[in-house]
C-alpha cells in the first residue's frame, strides 16, 4: 500500500497550492507512467482517508496513465510498449531500449474561490 505515501505527498502539495491562492481545491489531475505501480482505487481510497477534515475533503482525483515507450534498435522508431508482447509495433523487432517511464506528476488542480 505505497499509495499512502503518494497520497500524503499529494495532499501536502495540493493544500499548499490552494492556501497560497486562498482557494478551495475541488479536483486534481495526476499522471504517471504504466511502470509506476499506482492503483487508482487504492490511491483514491488512501487520499479520501487522509483528506477527511481537511480542505481537500471530497476532492475529485483524475489519474492518467501514460504508456511506456520503447525505442526500436532496428528501425529506430519510438513506440508504445505492450507488456504482454513487448516488441516494436512497426517492424516487430524485439530488440529495443526501454525509454524512461513518466514520473508521478501532479499536473493540474481545480480551485474554487468564494
Amino acid at each position: 500500500m505505497h499509495e499512502m505515501m503518494v497520497a500524503e505527498s499529494l495532499l501536502k502539495t495540493i493544500s499548499a497550492e490552494a492556501s497560497r491562492r486562498n482557494a478551495r481545491p475541488i479536483g486534481a489531475t495526476i499522471s504517471c507512467g504504466t511502470l509506476n505501480a499506482v492503483n487508482d482505487e487504492t490511491l483514491r481510497f488512501a487520499f479520501d482517508a487522509i483528506a477527511k477534515g481537511t480542505p481537500c475533503e471530497d476532492m475529485r482525483l483524475q489519474i492518467e496513465h501514460k504508456p511506456t515507450q520503447g525505442k526500436c534498435r532496428k528501425c529506430d522508431r519510438d513506440f508504445e510498449i505492450e507488456f504482454s508482447q513487448p516488441k516494436c509495433t512497426d517492424c516487430g523487432s524485439e530488440d529495443f531500449a526501454l525509454l524512461p517511464d513518466a514520473p508521478l506528476m501532479l499536473e493540474e488542480i481545480e480551485l474554487e474561490t468564494d
Binding site: 499512502m4 505515501m5 505501480a37 507488456f83 504482454s84 516488441k87 526501454l98 508521478l104 506528476m105 481545480e110
Partner: protein, 220 residues
C-alpha cells in the same frame, strides 16, 4: 472555478533525499545496491553467503528493511558485517529518508559496498529511488518462471537478476521452472541485464556473482 497547472513531481521529497544519498555515496566512492524481491526468495541468505565469500576482498555493510523484527540484521551481524535494521511498521517499501538515516549509522568510511535489502515485495519498492547505483532483483525458482512477464517494471529497471535456489531444479523436487524462458523474458524487457543463476545454499554460481560485485565496487 479556476484550473491551475502545477506540473510537480509527487515523490519530489523522496527524490530529494535519494539525491542526497547518491551524492554522499559517490563522493566517498561507495557502491550501493538496492535488492528487491518477493518475501522468501532468499535475499538475506544470499547476502550472508556473499559477505562470507567476499571476506578479505571487499567490505560490505547492509541496511535491512522489514515490516517488523530485527531478525535479518541479526543474521547479517552473525557474519561480522555491520547491519542497520529499519522497521517500516506496515509500509511496503523503504523510502530515501530512511536510508539517509541508516547511512549515518553505518561506518561508511570502512566499507566498499552497501547493500539495501528492501521489504519483501516485487511491486512497490520499484517506484522509490533510495539513492542506489543499481537495483538487483532476486527471483527464486519456486516462485515460477512467469514473473518477468507478470511484474515487468522491476525486471526492466534492474541491472542484475539473481535467479536463486537453482539447486532445487536438479534436486528431484517437482518444480516447473524454465530457466531459459526467464532469461529471454527478462532480456526482452532489459537487453543489458546481468543474469546469475545461483544457489545461496549450495554456493552454485556464487563465484560469478561475487566477481561481478568486486568489479562493480572497484569501478565506482
Amino acid at each position: 472555478m479556476e484550473k491551475v497547472r502545477v506540473g510537480k513531481k509527487i515523490l519530489d521529497e523522496n527524490d530529494r533525499y535519494a539525491l542526497e544519498n547518491i551524492l554522499l555515496l559517490s563522493r566517498k566512492n561507495k557502491l550501493c545496491l538496492n535488492m528487491i524481491s518477493s518475501p522468501g526468495s532468499g535475499k538475506t541468505t544470499i547476502l550472508a553467503r556473499t559477505i562470507s565469500e567476499l571476506a578479505g576482498k571487499i567490505k560490505i555493510g547492509v541496511i535491512e528493511g522489514d515490516i517488523q523484527t530485527d531478525l535479518d540484521a541479526e543474521r547479517i551481524r552473525a557474519t561480522k558485517a555491520p547491519a542497520i535494521q529499519i522497521n517500516t511498521n506496515g509500509a511496503c517499501h523503504l523510502s530515501a529518508v530512511q536510508i539517509s538515516d541508516a547511512l549515518s549509522k553505518l561506518p561508511i568510511e570502512d566499507l566498499d559496498l552497501i547493500f539495501i535489502e528492501n521489504v519483501g515485495n516485487l511491486v512497490c519498492p520499484t517506484d522509490f529511488n533510495l539513492g542506489e547505483n543499481a537495483k538487483v532483483v532476486v527471483l527464486s525458482v519456486a516462485e515460477g518462471d512467469d514473473k518477468p512477464a507478470k511484474y515487468p517494471a522491476i525486471f526492466a529497471k534492474s541491472k542484475v537478476l539473481l535467479i536463486n535456489k537453482v539447486d532445487l531444479l536438479t534436486s528431484g523436487a517437482s518444480i516447473d521452472f524454465d530457466l531459459d524462458k526467464v532469461k529471454a523474458d527478462a532480456r526482452r524487457l532489459n537487453k543489458t541485464i546481468e543474469i546469475f543463476p545461483i544457489s545461496a545454499k549450495t554456493g552454485e554460481g556464487m563465484t560469478d556473482w561475487c566477481n561481478w560485485l568486486i568489479d562493480a565496487a572497484t569501478r565506482v
